[in-house]
Every structure is written in C-alpha cells, then in structure tokens.
Symmetry: C2
Subunit: 333 residues, 2 copies
DNA sequence: ACCAAATGTTGAAACGTTTCAGAATTGGGC
DNA sequence: GCCCAATTCTGAAACGTTTCAACATTTGGT
C-alpha cells in the first residue's frame, strides 16, 4: 500500500487538489506551500500512480513499438532512434518483440490497445492489415516501419531500395567494373527485387553487364556456396564485381574467394554488400555496404506518429528514406 | 471515446458486474448470457481499459526490463528468454534501454515505479545501488541480471566466468596444447579477470604453460594487432593455442593468422573465443566459444522475480549459471 | 410439490488521480 | 478602512474497472 496523493495532502496539511497542482504545475502553488508538499512527498516516499492518472486522462504518454526480432541489431538501432525522438516529446516507449509469430503480434497489439497507448509503431509481419486497420479505426494511430503500405491509409517509413541498388552499381561501374554479378534472393522478396531493379537501371546507364545469381536465402552459407561455384569457372568468366543483396551474403562470398586465394579483393573482384551491419566494418577486407540508418527510420516514424496523434488522419503520409553508400576497402580501386 | 464496460452492459441488457465476470471468468456466467455479452463486445469493438483494471487491482501484470544496450544481440536474446517465461506466468514485459546513461536509468526506474510494475529486471549500470534499494524497499522486487550483487539483499543471475575459463583451457590441453596464450583485457574488468583465473586453475592441473597478453579493449582490431605481433616471433615461440577473452578478439586473431598464411587453424594454432555470438559460427574457420546462454539468464531472472513477487524477500537468492563450451573447427584436433 | 443447495445476476463501493467551479485569502490603490 | 482584482486553495465529481454481499433463479432429491 504505497502512499497516495491523499496521504501527502494530509501530511502537508493541504487539499488533494493542491498536491496535484504542485505535481503538475508548481507555478500555480505558493512557494511556502510547495515546500511543505515536497517535504511530505519525500517523507512518505510518494510515487504517482500512473494508472489513475491515465484513467482520468483517457490516454497514456506511451507509444508501443513492435519489432520482428529483438536479436537483430538493426531493430536495436531503430529502437534507439524512436526513444530519442520520443524523449523530446515527453513520451516513453514500450518495446516488444513479435518474434515473427503472427499470434504474438496480435497479442501485443491487443496489449497495447488495452494500455491505451498514444500510438503503435510496427514492423509488420504479414500482409494481413486487418487487425492494424481495426486498431487504427478505433482511434489508435499506427505507423508502419521499414515497409511500404500497399494502400495509402497508413503512415509509413521505408527505405528506397531501388535507389540503393542504383548507388551500388554506379559506384562499381565508376571503379571500372565490366562484368557485375548480383547475388541474392529469393527474388520475390520485395526488398531484394527492388535492389536488383535499381542495379539494372544503373547498368543500362553504364557500359557493364549484369548477371543475376539467385540464392534461396540471404545467409553467410548461401554466399559462400555461390562463391565456390563462381571459382570453378574459367578465369575469364569470373565477374569482376559482386553486388550481394545483403552483408551476410557478401561476407560468405568474401570468405570463399579469400580461402581460394587466386583473386585479390578489390583488385580482381570488388564486393559490395547491403545493410551495413556492424560486422561489415570488421571483416577481413572491410566491406563496402549500403547504410539504411535505422536510427533515422525510427525517429522519423515517431515523428509521423506524433503528428497523426495530434492532427488526425490528415497527417498520414508515406516517407521514403534515401540510403547511403559507405565505401570501404572491398571496392576501392 | 471508446466503448466502456457500461456500454457493453447496456447493449447486452445485463449489469456491468456480469460483463466483468464474462471477461474474467466466463465459466461463472450462463452460456446464453455469455453469448449476448460477446456479441455486444464485438458489435461495439470494446477493448478493456487496462488503466482502470490496474487501478482497481493495485498492481499490474507487467514487469520492466532495463538493458544497457538494445543494439547488442546479447540483450536481445536475454529479452527473448524473459518474454518466454513471462508469457508462461501470464505476464507481459516492457523493455527499455538505459543506453548506458545513469540519468536515463533513473528515469526508467521512476517510470516503471509509476506504472506499478510487478517487478524490475535490470542489468545495472553503475555500482550505485541506492535508487534500486529504495525501489525495492517501497515494495517493487528487483532482480540484477548478468551481474553479481555485492550485498546479498538483491536477487541476481550471473554467469560463472571462472568455470568458463577453466573449461576452455581444459579443452585446449586435452587437444594437446603445450603453450597457451590468454588474450584480452583490461584485466580490471571482473569478467576478464575471472576468465583468466579459471584458465590458470586448469593450466596448473595440466602440463601446459600460460602466457597472458593484455589488450586495452576487446575488439576485432585489438585481436588483430596481437595476432600480428605474435606472427613476428620465431616460429618456435608461437603459442600453439590462443584463448581470447571474447569472440571479437578471437576473430581478430584469426584474421591475422589466416592473412599471414604460415600457420593452419587448428592444426598449428587452436583458437577459442568467449560469448558465442552469432557471427562466431560463420567465421572463415568456425570458432569454438563459450556460450553464456542469455536466454537462460533471462528466463531464470524472471523466475526469481516471480518468486520474490509472490513470496517476498525470503525468495531472494543469487543464481550462478554454468557456461557451456561449444566446440567448432577452430580447436578440433 | 416442496425445500435446500447450487447457480446466476445485480448494483454500489472503491481504487488514485485530475479537473474545475467556486471559496478564501492577499495586496494595492484610494 | 474599503473595494476590486489577482492569487491561492478547496472539495467533489469523474474516469472504467473489479469485487462482493445480497438477491434471484434454477436444479435435484424426496
């Protein structure tokens, strides 16, 4: 039974209304009174009960963030961006983990709605927008993170993967690449397809050829397998530049080529990855990569949420962030 | 203005008490009534207001988790362990990020206390236990995660680093290592010192020598620097086994040795790391490492918290988890 | 058919805060 | 000393839920 505002009022010899004022707008209470109230609070160890405050206010000062995988550093950085911007608006952030399980995602949405959060930021799992739409229609703003919304009724923040692919291939061509291979997959994944499509744009503009090598997944192992296959080719059939659809694949390619030992990176083969995970900078040959700036995504998303919470649906908009090429040794020549 | 339980009661033609019962213990209400209530809930899109429920109940069904760095996969896995076990007890988890900043840590503790969480799991920043002690004394159980408590008044979950160091060196000696080097630092860090001390125990039991090479930090770059220094030695002065105090250092050592090319891993030099980060399994030569099982730490910590919330301070205890050696190619011989 | 027990339902109180209309006090100008 | 305005303080209502004693209805045994 923690001390309530009533206990504080009694201890300080004032009314509860005064204590409340002292808490929320100290300028409205006389200095002497304020002092007594503060003393009483300290003495009793009073801590405001947020449930009661929120019940009265009808809504909370918290936003919910649902990420796909707390283990992925990408989402950690995203959360940091969200938290930083939330702090500026006096909001707090509740982070939860859908673990890529749809039923967990539903549970969390319900939990957040019961909490009457100010809004929800979500990196959605499936393309079943029904629960999200319902939530939004009942008055909780929803912002999609790291994904475009098919329909334009949700705010969203995503990254321009076409531009990213374009950047990479432009850079490779400028470095003198003639035979480029794109490695990644499956191609049905929107992000992969967009990166490839950006690469195609850039190749057409330049003087190079583009070969596509599809992988079943984007892992180090998949990259290594493709690398070993490439090394069996005649030397003249070897691409002189590899664009991997993410960093893990790029690291796998790099490992295969280094173990083989016949080709130097970047002199004989340049390699570029995508995502700029922390380990890219520390690989044997530091990896050129495309940085998506998860922190920026996070803070932008929170900004949209805040706008929508204040101005309603007229504030809905889709923001596309431009990626950035981070050039390191694996492609420098 | 979302629908309240009162609106549902009116719609269904029953009293609010009945709706509440239907929500919390459906078996207590007649099937026909239950049906009407459910229909009314669906029709109105009613979602329970957790603030009111919590106000009435006096406490919430949520626990707070404060981590040092959301970006570190270690804490992501920890969070998963906590969430899984919390789910079994019908609790939800609010994750927040202290970002290694003391004032942020205090803010979050206050936020959680205002929310009247059932308890707090914290990977504490500094050794100023005062705010934690106060929180605990006001009735919120606190469990320290990944850190031993100097005094025994807090529950805690930590990992036995001495045992981990012992395991590693035992394994190396069994593989035939005669001249082992320990690489890591600074040695004032408790975890590093403990790992070294475990290594010393094992060396004394076996027939090998142990050299200590202290590093200023535990990064890939530091490991690579040590590796390059070792390679300048006469061949017969080269250690035949390297125990790195974490995986990043081990990866750096490995990179230096592979680039040099004179020594084979593990035939000439065995390498073992510590932490078993995800990238260890995918390095050029898969790395043997010591797994701390953050998920187990998390679920154990939540268990302690739950016990303390139910049984009070008599449930306080310190748990030390035994680490596990994961043997991969870098030390197999 | 009757009674007791079991089952189902009601309605008001209570949780701790904020809000706000109005009461009380203070202070300045004359 | 008096009046008006500005400042400060008060106290009760309201937020939406759960709880629980009391009331109502059904069931089953005889």
């Amino acid at each position: 039974m923690p001390a309530s505002i009533r206990d504080v009022a009694a201890e300080a010899g004032v009314s509860v209304g005064t204590v409340s004022n002292a808490l929320n707008d100290p300028s409205r209470v006389a200095p002497r009174t304020l002092e007594r109230v503060t003393a009483a609070i300290d003495k009793l160890g009073f801590v405001r009960n947020d449930a009661a405050r929120q019940l009265r206010a009808g809504k909370s000062r918290a936003v919910g963030l649902i990420v796909l995988d707390a283990t992925n550093p990408f989402f950690g950085e995203l959360a940091k961006g969200v938290e930083a911007t939330a702090g500026q608006h006096g909001l707090s952030v509740l982070i939860a983990n859908s673990d890529e399980r749809p039923e967990r995602e539903r549970e969390l949405l319900n939990l957040f709605e019961e909490q009457r959060v100010l809004g929800v930021l979500i990196s959605p799992l499936v393309v079943d927008p029904e629960p999200l739409r319902k939530l939004r229609d009942r008055g909780t703003p929803v912002v999609l993170v790291d994904m475009t919304s098919e329909d334009k009724s949700f705010s969203s923040v995503s990254v321009d993967d076409v531009a990213g692919g374009d950047l990479v291939v432009q850079h490779l061509v400028e470095g003198g690449a003639k035979r480029i291979a794109f490695v990644g997959g499956p191609l049905i994944r929107e992000q992969v397809a967009d990166r490839l499509s950006g690469a195609r744009n850039a190749v057409e503009a330049g003087q190079a050829t583009l070969e596509v090598i599809e992988t079943p997944a984007m892992t180090v192992a998949a990259g290594r397998a493709v690398g070993e296959a490439l090394l069996e080719r005649a030397t003249e059939a070897m691409p002189d530049a590899l664009f991997a659809a993410n960093d893990l694949v790029a690291l796998g390619l790099m490992q295969a080529i280094i173990v083989d030992g016949r080709f130097a990176i970047p002199e004989d083969v340049a390699i570029v990855g995508y995502d700029d995970i922390a380990y890219s900078a520390t690989s044997i040959v530091p990896l050129t990569s495309v940085r998506q700036s998860p922190e920026l995504i996070g803070s932008t998303a929170l900004g949209l949420l805040h706008a929508e919470a204040n101005n309603g649906s007229e504030a809905v908009k889709q923001i596309v962030i431009q990626p950035e090429l981070v050039i390191r040794a694996s492609s420098k020549r």
